[in-house]
């Protein structure tokens, strides 16, 4: 019971926490930033891709944890 409670709370925070990160990556992709001229501009689509990949990997971790719940 305790394990299930902890799992769902942590899953809610960790997977829910990916939403503001994806939104932030999307915002940085859409809006050009004001970095100094000597700082290279990153590929916004790649940055967004990395963020989504991280979110998916986190989701996979929680699915594996769900399957391992006692």
């Amino acid at each position: 019971m305790m394990a299930w409670f902890i799992f769902w709370v942590t899953a809610f925070v960790a997977i829910g926490g990916q939403i503001p990160l994806i939104i932030a990556a999307w915002r940085l992709y859409r809006q050009p930033h004001l970095a100094p001229a000597n700082v290279p501009r990153s590929d916004g689509r790649a940055d967004l891709g990395w963020t989504i990949l991280t979110a998916l990997a986190t989701l996979a971790l929680f699915v594996a944890a769900y399957l391992a719940l006692p």
Binding site: A3, I6, L28, R41, L61
Partner: protein, 587 residues
């Protein structure tokens, strides 16, 4: 009551407690505890038998009774003295409380209560009471003094360093004394269930640390420059510390009488280290700063120091902590010390090799940053080519060491970590995207996988969770540093998040990543790999992390950012230490 009388009472209690510990050790070594089977006295056995060992047992009990009276009298004297407030009162109370507890544990021992309760805690309680008494006595005899001269800069830094080192040594000596106590009371509890420290390992560590402390004290506190007699005595007699530590260490290899020798030496060493720690805190010392004693180092020594610095020892230390602690929490149980040693050597070589290659590739960036411009490559002391060859050699050695002495999978993960950090992060991510720290954080998260696979030879879900904890810990940790050093990063052309997205965005993402990190850190409890001890520790440590991350988001000043950066280092080490404690205590 006059101060002198209070000190006398405390001193008598201190000496009697020391005598109690020694006589207790003698009872244990001689096996005389079995001759006296009632408590507090064993008059029946005394009348019937002629066994001389009974007198050892009775003498011990008489000493305990006298010490108990003296300790309680000392506690009352301290509390009745209006001038004495704060810490001395707390330690005096702790001494009395612990002494009574240990006396009751002695009674349990006689009444046949199992070893863990009585055997170990009887002696441990006496040792802890002795430590509390030592601190009470020292704090009363060495009252805090306001500094006669204002110290700044390097002198103040050296003072702080010496004090930190002294407290670190005192704490280590305390752990070692308790470990010796556990060993001499119950040898089967060598790796004590309630005390995760091997007595030989703990005392070896204390011996090394005390040699270093004595060396530093003699170098920094030159006797001729000291203003008071006690300040002259501290560096002069500091060599006694390593002497006692060695004595205690040697005694552990001689059974059974050697254990008594170890116990006595370890106990006195603990008191000595506490005395030095309090003295450094309270007595006016004239400290010779690092600058003051600096001599031009020989060329060969500078070259070696430069090559060692290429391996980034400070960065590596935290990586090794995560590797080491992980090795003690796998389902395979406690690993052998040889396996731990080879894994640590392989881990250091791998991380050091990757660090050296990073220095070779990053010299154009490092030269533009204040924090890194004095490194050997950007300052021209070592060429990028030499740094690369050095890093490559270390990396190859690490793979060989881990493959031969641990498992092929551990060697594979070390190889993956080297390529990830030295090529994927350094050569590409760092220079091209603000995701550098997030995705690059995977490199720093690999050491637990090395530790785990070195012990088990396979990867399990818990190992991946450890990876994820460090992965999500990395952005808040490094972005805090990047917020402080963002001008450096901008000058060097590194697209760190604060440089390309601004402070507000970075502070917000620090908060989000911290929350995810804390959630992931609780996952080991959900999957049944850790118990309530870890849950409690992870929640408390995580809440403090969230408080600091919240302060960075809401306030965002330098104090808040530095606070998070420094705490994040401590957080990771403590979180992994709590995992070890959970595994050793609960099993």
């Amino acid at each position: 009551m006059a101060a002198r009388t209070v000190v006398r009472v405390l001193l008598i209690g201190w000496l009697l407690t020391l005598a109690t510990i020694i006589s207790g050790g003698l009872v244990s070594v001689s096996g005389s505890s079995t001759t006296c089977l009632s408590w507090p006295l064993c008059l029946e056995e005394l009348r019937n038998g002629q066994n001389p060992l009974i007198w050892i047992s009775l003498t011990h009990r008489a000493l305990v009774a006298l010490a108990l009276l003296a300790v309680v009298a000392g506690m009352v004297a301290v509390w009745r003295r209006p001038e004495t407030t704060g810490l001395p009162r707390i330690f005096a109370f702790a001494a009395g409380f612990l002494f009574i507890l240990q006396a009751l544990a002695g009674a349990l021992l006689v009444w046949g209560i199992p070893a863990m309760v009585a055997d170990v805690w009887h002696l441990s309680g006496a040792l802890l009471a002795f430590g509390a008494q030592t601190l009470t006595l020292l704090l009363i005899t060495l009252p805090a003094q306001s500094p006669s001269e204002r110290v700044t800069g390097r002198v103040a830094q050296t003072q702080r360093r010496l004090r930190r080192m002294a407290w670190w040594l005192a704490a280590s000596a305390g752990v070692a004394a308790l470990a010796i106590g556990a060993r001499s009371a119950a040898p089967t509890l060598e790796m004590a269930t309630a005390l995760p420290a091997n007595s030989v390992g703990a005392m070896s560590f204390v011996a090394l640390l005390s040699v270093w402390m004595a060396f530093e004290l003699r170098r920094r506190l030159q006797p001729v420059a000291q203003p008071v007699a006690l300040a002259i005595a501290v560096p002069r007699y500091s060599l006694l510390l390593p002497g006692l530590a060695l004595l205690a260490l040697v005694g552990l290899f001689i059974t059974p009488t050697g254990h008594l020798l170890s116990l006595i030496a370890g106990t006195i060493l603990w008191a000595g280290t506490l005395a030095i720690a309090v003295a450094l805190q309270r007595i006016p010392f004239h400290v010779v700063s690092t600058q003051g004693v600096a001599r031009p180092a020989p060329a060969w020594r500078s070259v070696i120091a430069d090559y060692i610095s290429l391996t980034k020892p400070k960065v590596i230390s935290l990586l090794l902590v995560t590797t080491l602690t992980t090795m003690f929490i796998t389902e395979a149980g406690i690993p052998s010390w040889w396996l731990v040693l080879w894994t640590m050597i392989g881990g250091y070589l791998a991380a050091g090799g990757a660090g050296a290659i990073n220095c070779a590739f990053d010299s154009d960036i490092d030269v533009n940053m204040g924090r890194t411009s004095r490194r050997p490559v950007p300052s021209g002391r070592i060429s990028p080519r030499a740094a690369f060859i050095f890093g490559a050699v270390l990396s190859i050695l690490s793979i060989i060491v881990l493959w031969v002495f641990t498992t092929p999978l551990a060697a594979f993960f070390a190889f993956l970590g080297i390529v990830y950090y030295a090529y994927f992060y350094t050569g590409w991510l760092k220079r091209t995207t603000w995701q550098n720290i997030i995705i690059g954080g995977g490199a720093g998260a690999i050491p637990p996988l090395v530790g785990w696979t070195a012990v088990t030879g396979s990867v399990s879900l818990m190992a991946v969770v450890l990876f994820a904890i460090i992965f999500y810990w990395t952005p808040p940790h490094f972005w805090a540093l990047a917020l402080v050093k963002q001008k450096d990063y901008a000058r060097a052309g590194v697209p760190m998040l604060p440089v390309v997205a601004g402070e507000a965005e970075t502070r917000w993402q620090i908060l989000v990543y911290s929350a995810i990190m804390m959630a992931v850190s609780l996952l080991p409890v959900a999957i049944g790999a850790m118990s309530w001890i870890y849950l409690l520790g992870a929640v408390l440590l995580g809440l403090r992390f969230m408080r600091d991350a919240w302060a960075v988001w809401r306030v965002g000043d330098q104090a808040a950012i530095w606070g998070l950066y420094k705490y994040s280092l401590l957080y990771l080490a403590l979180l992994f230490a709590v995992m070890v404690a959970d595994r050793l205590i609960i099993g």
